[in-house]
């Protein structure tokens, strides 16, 4: 099922945007065109669907969007930010459904002031603005009711997400003024829509930062707590290699070996223990050209790629959405291209990859994997972020079975085409 992320009034996205999320979603465009903001919004969408409406959503590593003032689009220097902004999840299909959250500033922080669930011709909306009693709007095929409704005396909209508003609360809602708007079947549709949205966004976001941590010569086995920069990766490798159950380590090592060989990055990754106890230090060894080197003594590309490779491989059995910034950093084009194949191979129904990239080689390879039938055109969403005078516009570029882009907007890759003409002197 196609998942759309819709939003408006956020940073450079002044106008309404509608972006399709697929198993592999590639974000391309110039610097400061909103790609990282989009990654942050993917995480926010997950939270909306999974009842996790809290302010820090907008400021979790590695995406720090700031306070309301920094997040809401600025209309002008004099007018300041827009009064509210919105984020919505839309599911396509025979009966489209959507869940939209609207945020306004409260004590300087973005706070939900309304949500609206739509499914087919049904809509239910809860609004809670400062100084105005909370209210509900219901609409169904010609019938409509708007009435005050505050079922939770102590709380605000953010504490009462729509997931709580299905048929279980129907008696209270109808008693408060909504009687006769929804039928029993309508309430079931509402329940089903909420379940579908949750189901589609059940893949937990895992973010990987654009600059990964610098390698060390020796590591102490202290903590494997995940960090977007991947500082925990050596510890993850050590834990896997020291585990009594070697299947996962062997599997990860085998996949690393395959990637290393195809990309030309390395032959093998090993853990070199500097003692016999689990608490003894260890080093990360990189075998290349028949010799073993310390991770710190090989090209920077290896330590930059490892967090992406290891996290993707070791989390293979989990429902996850990987939010990855510039995986190509420090990699030779051969390895950049191979990363494209790596992501294509790692895609499965449980996982999504949302990848911000400036690498033509990575994008090209994923398109080639469509041509080779490893991926279907519907598996790939290529989002082009185009900066304009009134902000950024996201274009959903479609691929055909040859991996060819079928609907490029006129400005797509203009820099490259012009640069090429200039290089040829024509």
């Amino acid at each position: 099922m196609a998942v759309h992320l819709q939003f408006e009034g956020i940073r450079c996205f002044a106008e309404p945007q509608d972006a399709v999320i697929r198993p592999i979603t590639l974000l391309v465009g110039e610097n400061s065109s909103g790609k990282t903001t989009f990654l942050a919004l993917c995480r926010i969408a997950y939270a909306i669907a999974n009842r996790m409406q809290t302010v820090p959503l907008f400021n979790e590593a590695p995406f720090f969007l700031g306070a309301y003032e920094q997040i809401a689009t600025r209309r002008s220097a004099r007018k300041g930010p827009v009064e509210s902004f919105s984020v919505a999840i839309l599911l396509g299909g025979a009966v489209p459904s959507s869940l939209r959250y609207e945020y306004a500033s409260r004590v300087g922080q973005p706070t939900p002031r309304a949500w609206r669930l739509e499914v087919g011709g049904l809509a239910i909306q809860h609004t809670e603005q400062d100084g105005v009693p909370p209210s509900v709007l219901m609409r169904s095929s010609g019938r409509e009711a708007r009435f005050p409704f505050a079922p939770f005396a102590d709380g605000a909209t953010q504490d009462h997400p729509p997931a709580l508003w299905g048929s279980l609360m129907a008696p209270e809602i109808e008693a408060a003024g909504g009687a006769g708007v929804f039928t029993q079947s309508d309430w079931e549709s509402v329940d089903q829509a909420l379940r579908s949205i949750q189901q589609e966004l059940r893949r937990r976001p895992y973010a990987i930062a654009p600059i990964r941590t610098s390698p060390l010569r020796t590591y102490d086995p202290i903590s494997a707590a995940p960090s977007p920069e991947g500082s925990h990766i050596p510890m993850v490798l050590a834990s896997l290699s020291r585990s009594a159950h070697q299947e996962q380590w062997n599997s990860v090592r085998s996949d690393l070996r395959e990637f290393g060989s195809k990309s030309g990055l390395f032959d093998e990754i090993e853990i070199v223990n500097k003692g016999k106890k689990d608490s003894d230090p260890f080093q990360v060894g990189v075998k290349s050209g028949g010799r073993m080197f310390n991770l710190i003594d090989v090209g920077y590309g290896v330590s930059q790629a490892l967090p992406i490779l290891v996290e993707t491989l070791q989390r293979a059995s989990q429902f996850e959405t990987f939010l990855i910034q510039q995986p190509e950093v420090h990699l030779h084009p051969k390895a950049q291209a191979e990363l494209g194949s790596f992501f294509a191979n790692q895609t499965d129904p449980k996982r999504r990859f949302v990848i911000e990239t400036h690498s033509d080689y990575l994008v090209d390879r994923i398109r080639m994997e469509v041509r080779r039938r490893l991926l279907e055109p519907e598996d790939v969403s290529l989002l082009y972020f185009e900066r304009g005078k009134s902000g950024t516009t996201i274009h959903n570029l479609e691929l055909d079975r040859n991996g060819t882009i079928t609907n490029p907007p006129p400005g797509f890759r203009q820099f490259f085409l012009k640069e090429e003409l200039d290089l040829l002197g024509v």
Binding site: D360, V363, D364, L397, R401, N402, T404, I405, T406, N407, P408, P410, G411, F412, R413, Q414, F416, L417, K418, E420, L421, L424, G425, V426
Partner: protein
């Protein structure tokens, strides 16, 4: 806005794709929906030239290089050969025009040009030939000539 398609014969690729002209500007500027159409044998012929290959790659990345289904292309080539209606030995180009719906061809080959304008081979609409890259860009902009047979 519909796509505007052009096939460039390998023998004029240098002139039409690499030298400064209205055609090269048309292919690279953000006006209209220009599409260079190349697939199969023609694509291999064009890619044999290093500079043309780089140009093709850039056009492909920009979504401005249109391909065609290989199986349909082979089938159309076989049909043309069996029908024995072509004077030229460039059935791969004629088949590409039929399969992709492209009706504009850049070539200096008179025999191929004759085939391309032959109503029995290319029709609805008829094919047109461009020989001078400096002259035709304005016509391309106004000629939605692609997608007819997709």
């Amino acid at each position: 806005m519909s796509d505007v398609c052009l096939i460039v014969d390998a023998n004029v690729a240098h002139k039409f794709l690499l030298q400064s002209s209205a055609i090269t500007q048309w292919l690279s500027r953000p006006l209209g929906n220009p599409r260079l159409v190349a697939a199969g044998k023609l694509l291999r012929e064009l890619a044999a030239n290093d500079e043309v290959r780089k140009k093709l790659v850039e056009l492909e990345r920009a979504g401005r290089l249109r391909s065609a289904d290989a199986e349909r292309l082979h089938r159309e080539e076989r049909r043309l050969r069996a029908a024995a209606v072509c004077l030229s030995n460039d059935t791969h180009i004629l088949a590409l025009a039929i399969v992709s719906g492209t009706r504009t061809l850049a070539t200096n080959d008179n025999t191929l040009a004759t085939d391309f304008k032959n109503k029995q081979i290319i029709d609805q609409p008829r094919g047109r030939i461009y020989r001078d890259p400096t002259k035709h860009a304005h016509l391309l902009r106004h000629t939605p000539s692609c997608g007819i047979a997709r």
